[in-house]
């Protein structure tokens, strides 16, 4: 990071209002909080959608909601949870934690970071605005062609979905580039790649998957948009197109997407478990390699979503074997986490409870994954509640329990106060028990013959009781989640003061104030080990809290949010169904980008070539 003679501008600049500050901020920590708050809001929304579905399914042949509403709910539940909760909550932690963990003052491109967030926010609002006109997307989060063709989905529902996701993809790809650049370039002296905390490593791997997988989805969405707006026939059999092409493109993105969701949680677990076991991570190198390997092999397994499409025995066999192989590095991670705890002196804080539950629950989801890979029987499992059980075990067991662990773990760093442990333990048990009560019966519901994505089921299926149990579990876990929200809000004011390093953790983010100063570290510390705060604490703290060095902090900018308006408008204006309408958004975007590019020259800052 280049330094300027000017003092940290943020400290001398006159205070602006909080709202203006948030709208123009380029601080990775504030953007992280914005991402986190937005994702937690959408978690409520997606959870609410799930509860409505569970009410509908609690009895056979129920008529609580109509088929059309149900289809919109399950589509938006899946889309919301994947794109508006799972990904942004990981990005929230990437934003807040990664620069701190590697000893940086911000991400490599702070304004680009803000642009990512605003595109994400506007894109997600646009997609959900479809509910206001009762025309929310209704073809599933997987949006299989040719159901999405204008002929079968004439309303604007699918347009909201395709255009909204296209915008979100732009945000994700920019975010991925940003984190890769940050992790490669902005590490503190001595922070070699193989000294980085596992969370930063998994952010690194995830970012590579993001910048490679999301473009595949972007291509698929463009083809779909062409089909819907300009009458091309990529996914129609009428002129030799093929709806299976969509499935290949979607899952070629969709399976790596699963690892985009789960690897950040693996990173969280790999930081939380050593901290509370008071032992270094067992087999650090293997944990890094297995994470990278999972990301890599994740590219070669997409066909296991398509065993029923009739790919033929050769392709079925290939995808069977590749999918089973991915279980090996995953299993290694599980055994290494257990070995990390083995011989430790484990402190069961709420964060650790969530982490241990995540390891156990994720394992349950992992073994049903191997059952899916048993492709002949997959013909019985696919598109049933058995699959719903599996991926909720993986995503709630791995991702959500991991994220809650991370929330309880890093909350004191972010706010300066500890979350209430008593409330935390309650939320943990309610959520975890509710989760298992919801999704354990679904294994049987699926194998006893209930397909997914049905708004009702015949009483002939005999599945009323099991479904009722799942619905009760859903409400139980919802109470658990609400308690977490109560805890988050309540602890802002009433929480115990945390201090710099309340958990006695080893990684560099705990060598800052809680919450960290805007510039993070007074001087960039030099790192000599993987556990700097365990092995070289005095030296690190002497630098981090020592006398200030001079450095440049990028000032706030309103160009990211204005550019985001243009980018999202470009997609939104497709709905006007006039060829020139999107060009308005595009022109706006270009004007903003040009202004953005000259901003620093005009304001006289960044003259030394500090790009932000």
């Amino acid at each position: 990071m280049s330094t300027l003679e000017a003092p940290a501008t943020a400290h001398t600049a006159p205070k602006k209002s909080v709202v203006w500050d948030l709208l123009t901020t380029v601080d990775h920590k504030k953007i992280g909080i914005l991402y986190g708050a937005t994702a937690l809001f959408y978690l409520l929304l997606g959870g609410f959608e799930a509860l409505l579905m569970r009410i509908q399914l609690s009895r056979p042949e129920n008529d609580f909601i109509s088929a059309e509403v149900y289809n919109q709910l399950f589509t938006m539940h899946g889309t919301t949870m994947v794109f508006l909760v799972g990904m942004p909550i990981a990005v929230a932690f990437f934003n807040y934690i990664v620069p701190l963990q590697i000893g940086a003052r911000d991400v490599a491109f702070p304004r680009l970071n803000a642009l990512s967030y605003w595109i994400f926010l506007f894109g997600s609002l646009f997609m959900n605005a479809s509910f206001l006109i009762g025309q929310a997307p209704n073809a599933g989060w997987f949006g299989y062609a040719n159901l999405t063709a204008s002929q079968y989905s004439p309303g604007p529902n699918i347009d909201f979905w395709a255009l909204g996701l296209q915008a979100l993809g732009v945000a994700s790809i920019m975010g991925g580039i940003n984190f890769i650049a940050t992790i490669i370039n902005l590490r503190a002296p001595g922070m070699r790649l193989m000294r980085m905390p596992l969370f930063t490593w998994m952010a690194f791997v995830t970012s590579f998957i993001i910048i490679t997988a999301l473009p595949v989805f972007a291509v698929a969405l463009f083809l779909l948009t062409f089909d819907r707006f300009w009458g091309t026939l990529f996914f129609s059999t009428v002129a030799g197109g093929d709806p299976v092409l969509w499935q290949h493109l979607f899952w070629l993105f969709g399976h790596p997407e699963v690892y985009i969701l789960i690897l950040p949680a693996f990173g969280i677990l790999s930081d939380v478990i050593p901290t509370f076991s008071k032992k270094p991570l067992f087999g650090y190198a293997v944990m890094v390699y297995s994470g990278a390997l999972i990301g890599l092999i994740g590219w070669g397994v997409w066909g296991h979503h398509m065993f029923a499409t009739g790919m033929g025995p050769i392709a079925d066999s290939y995808f069977t074997i590749s999918t089973m192989i991915i279980a090996i590095p995953t299993g290694v991670k599980i055994f290494n986490w257990i070995a990390t705890m083995w011989g430790g002196s484990i402190r069961f804080t709420t964060a650790m409870l969530f982490a241990v539950a995540a390891v156990a629950t994720f394992t349950m989801g992992g073994v049903s994954g191997v059952m899916h890979a048993t492709s002949p029987h997959n013909l019985q499992q696919t598109d049933t509640y058995f699959v719903v059980a599996h991926f909720h075990y993986v995503l709630l067991g791995g991702l959500v329990l991991g994220v809650f662990s991370g929330l309880y773990y890093w909350y004191p760093k972010i706010t300066g106060r500890l979350m209430n442990e008593k409330l935390g333990v309650w939320s943990f048990w309610l959520y975890t028990i509710g989760l298992h009560l919801t999704f354990l019966p679904m294994h049987w519901i699926g194998l006893l013959g209930m397909p997914r994505r049905v708004f009702t089921y015949s009483s002939e299926l005999g599945l009323g009781t099991l479904n009722m149990a799942a619905s009760v579990g859903g409400f139980l876990s919802a109470i658990g989640v609400l308690l977490i929200y109560v805890n988050v809000v309540r602890s802002l004011k009433k929480g115990e003061k945390a201090g710099r390093n309340p958990w006695g953790a080893a990684t560099l983010e705990w060598a800052t104030e809680s919450p960290p100063a805007e510039h993070n570290f007074n001087r960039t510390p030099t790192v000599h080990s993987r556990e700097p705060l365990w092995l070289e604490r005095e030296q690190i703290e002497r630098t981090a809290f020592g006398p200030m060095e001079s450095f440049h902090m990028p000032p706030g900018s309103y160009w990211p949010i204005l550019t985001a308006v243009g980018v999202v408008a470009t997609f939104v204006l497709f709905l006007a169904n006039a060829w020139w309408a999107p060009l308005i958004g595009l022109a706006w975007t270009i004007i903003c980008v040009v202004n953005w590019a000259y901003e620093e020259v005009r304001s006289g800052e960044g003259a030394e070539g500090v790009l932000s």
């Binding site: 290494n336 257990i338 029987h377």
Partner: protein, 396 residues
Amino acid sequence: MTRCKTGWQRAGSAAVLAVSIFAAGCLGGPEYAQTTFEPVSQFGASLNRVFYNTLAWTMAILVLVLVLIGVVIVRFRERPGQPHPRQNHGNTKLEIIWTLIPAVIVVFIAVPTVQTVFSSQSRPDAGALEIEVIGHQWWWEFRYPVEGVITANEFYIPVGRQVHLRLTSVDVIHSFWLPRVGGKRDVMPQPRTADGEMPRPNHLVFTVDSAGRYRGQCAEFCGEAHGLMAMYAHAVDAEAFDAWIDAMREGDPSPAGAPAGGAVVDTAQAQTAQSVPTQGAQAPGQPAQSGAQQTLEQQGRQIFLSRACIACHAIAGTTAQGRVGPDLTRFGTRQTVGAGAAANTTENVEQWIRDPQVLKAGTLMPGAQTEAGGFPSTGLTDDEIRAVAAYLTSLR
């Protein structure tokens, strides 16, 4: 090795059975119409065999992991006065072991799996019964090209004879699934060639071992009424199957009470039937049917054959040859109306004709006053609806 594997499979089967029985016991032993645990074909059984093998191995690993986590929680929790734990960074030997052992287990899972992949997708025998399954939003069409029979939503297959399904769709992707028979297979949209063929169907090949009525339903999300796209397979012995084929070929049976052999009853005859009670003509033991009922059925038949119905529907043995909607030959024998939307009662059929959206939102069938799927409303009056419903349910 083989013995060991069989042992595991047995253990797996026993475990599944135990859990299923336990579950069934808790729930008072309901009937599961679509269970995968009780396959009625070799196809289904072979899928379960390989599943139980995987289940046994994965459950063993899961139990191991959960036990280890349990031990960790009990043994290694923080206790007062405990010394700081020893700082070890890993153990290469251990890590190699828990990489290799899962790798070996994967081999034990993968080999029988791949064997079954090939065996479950083998080509049909020469003598297999050929059935074309055509998916529609939101109903099933079954065509027996050799026998010259077409039906919808419920189809018959002979026990003990191999069945070869060729699956295609006329609109979006559906998935054909009869859980008790075996795994599902997607039903892909296909462009028809000039002679109406669909060149690249998906295939399912199976032989059902025991007679029964097996429920299935569409398993790929296919739009608004996807949840109401059920089907029934009636597995019957060869004789009953042949009798069914004959009955389907004959189509519209002579209306009850009409002179035997009179396949077509003209209006004059119907009017005669109205004036002359014909109760005596019915076989003893059958519920007495009033002349009024017969008249109603006759009227219904005439309305059906002269109004919009025949634009979409066909009934063998009549002039109705529409192929847009479900074939209604022997409709009265079916379990449900609207592919599982409601029980096949006269009341429900009337409701279906009046306004099918009430029973199945999204259906492309127009009602008396409501258009749907681009088709105009039928404009039938309540009396006409009653007559048509009486006619259709009489087609047994």
